[in-house]
Subunit: 416 residues, 2 copies
Amino acid sequence: MAKKRNIIVGQSGGPTAVINASLAGVYKNALERGFDKVYGMLHGIQGLLDEQYVDLSTQIHYELDIELLKRTPSAFLGSCRYKLPEIHENKALYEKIFDILNRLDIEVFIYIGGNDSMDTIKKLSDYAILTGQMQKFLGVPKTIDNDLALTDHTPGFGSAAKYIGASTKEVIRDANGLVYKKNMITLIEVMGRNAGWLTGATALAKSEDCEGPDLIYLPEVTFDMDRFLAKIKDLMNKKESIVVAVSEGIKLADGRYVCELGSVGDYVDAFGHKQLQGTATYLANYLASEVNCKTRAVELSTLQRSASHMASRVDIDEAFMVGGAAVKAADEGDTGKMVVIDRVADDPYMSATGIYDVHRIANEEKLVPRSWMNREGTYVTKYFVDYVKPLIQGDYQPIMVNGLPRHLVLNKKAKR
Amino acid sequence: MAKKRNIIVGQSGGPTAVINASLAGVYKNALERGFDKVYGMLHGIQGLLDEQYVDLSTQIHYELDIELLKRTPSAFLGSCRYKLPEIHENKALYEKIFDILNRLDIEVFIYIGGNDSMDTIKKLSDYAILTGQMQKFLGVPKTIDNDLALTDHTPGFGSAAKYIGASTKEVIRDANGLVYKKNMITLIEVMGRNAGWLTGATALAKSEDCEGPDLIYLPEVTFDMDRFLAKIKDLMNKKESIVVAVSEGIKLADGRYVCELGSVGDYVDAFGHKQLQGTATYLANYLASEVNCKTRAVELSTLQRSASHMASRVDIDEAFMVGGAAVKAADEGDTGKMVVIDRVADDPYMSATGIYDVHRIANEEKLVPRSWMNREGTYVTKYFVDYVKPLIQGDYQPIMVNGLPRHLVLNKKAKR
């Protein structure tokens, strides 16, 4: 009997609106290429270590399921934030993983994730090479943060940017409709620890029917409270409603996060990242006392990464495409690599997949170039907007059931 | 020359996703009934006192503009929170208003708003009758809060409920995808000072593809911290991700708002309403310290009232309908009245407009009946869900330009 050709795929890190489109792309391409089974790790490598996985054919029965999966936010298989130890630190753990992979006849291991997940691909492919194992390890990029190196952009970013742009427009209108002969300052807090891609996307709101935010502060530039206050005072003389977009990760010159000035706790995740929240609330309270006007804080919070009802068609299609490209690359012999998206043309926008050695990618963060912000660091430039705009185009209409978008959910009873 | 027959229409109070559909309904019906001009007050009665108004024919040129208006959130004309004094307190103010109305040949005055706005209709119609003026004053209901008496529901509520239901589903999925072998508690804060209609709408998330929130706390029932904590501890033994919906207006037995236990300020608006915010954040911090698990707070904030990209078709159509019905009622001689929505049938859902004396409506708040919550006050019942479900059905697809929903904006240069 010929050896089975199976694939196992996992999802890791923070959710996005399109992370399941990549899963759909892996699944569909794997079947088309004649792989026997596609397993899904439940909660990534952490679940795999507990032997938690499903045979995806027990979950996806119809083409309609693929369509639902494309419209389902957050990791369908469950995610994890689990950092593998260095190989020399815990060889037994690696042996356990490869024992499971061998038992399942896994030929290809695909991990859909961000920076931390590419670290997993790097370590597993290194271990396989070191120990002469034959599995291929491929990474599929995924992060709303758009901070992965070498890829033009990451799947998940376009949809988050679209949601942020649309919500910013709505928040600006909401404020404009309310204020009359007095000032009101609205602070919109957007995700992005070190990279300001998402916060910059608030500039998309600027269009012929919306003036856009007045100020945009990215974490790439040091935040100065005094200069901020001066800017606000100046704006208050010019207009009634002032809308400011701030990244959750803006920092003072002394290195403290602005949100640390507030009262939120100090939660640190498995990768040592501090939990950031409360930047907008802190600044709203600060301004209310400094300039004596009504302020309000709007945190886009987890909504911005899971709003599949506002996902971008370009983003979903590209997420699907990179999933399929990972299967193809593995099938053709690649390992220790991540699929990337190359921008082939700007106008009309075209993209294609490429592939890079994961050693060149892992643990590197792509920030917004300083030249894509204005000199004062209070707005993004046309280059930034031109870069993002193609990524938010089009949509997949949600499949509505009883007035709400329908999602595909894991059937835990049909596990294996 | 025959006397001109003009209408003036204003928008007041908090924005909704469909307040402009009512404006569109007024405009279209007024033209069809042969009125000469439709003026729009800018920022309601407050702007009118400053003689701020537009001729709507300078703003709405095409049928496409009507369609855009239906999809544009927040008051197109601008809103206000302005409480008219009692007639005996400031007669001069009333004289000023009627002087403006007479100068503009206004036959019908229509005000789109909530409780506070109906108070304006009541006072102006009383004054007209007292002083023998011929104008008709009609109210068009509008509030996401759904707390107006005598109408089955208010335009704006259905769209907010739809957005809340969809966002709750997405937040629940986001959490489910993340947690593995540990607890996480998500608190979703929903608007609603005294009435829990919007918070109850989180129960819409409960469907064959979503388990819905675990607990729902409405302001109609006194909130007890100890019982809440016990509920959470119990849930933590049963499941990993716990999602709790709380109204911003939940109160302790001693009358304090839960959010007052936190650090947010004491802003009070023109109608003496306290600004409520921070309930979820307070409870998230409280639980994090009490049960030592990861918690997070999601405030749906102003997004829930301005998310026209997720508006309900039923809601938009009804908002349009009540606008038109107000014009019809005035044209037929009614004054001092508010249009209401009557539920004609449940299955299939049908509605029609009715009309009520505004004296019976103003300043009365419709709360969620106690029998529509479970005995413990920790969830809504099937009656509640059956009531809301028809109101979130269908959609008007946003008109997308460059990847974002397009809105209609006031052209201030073409003011008169």
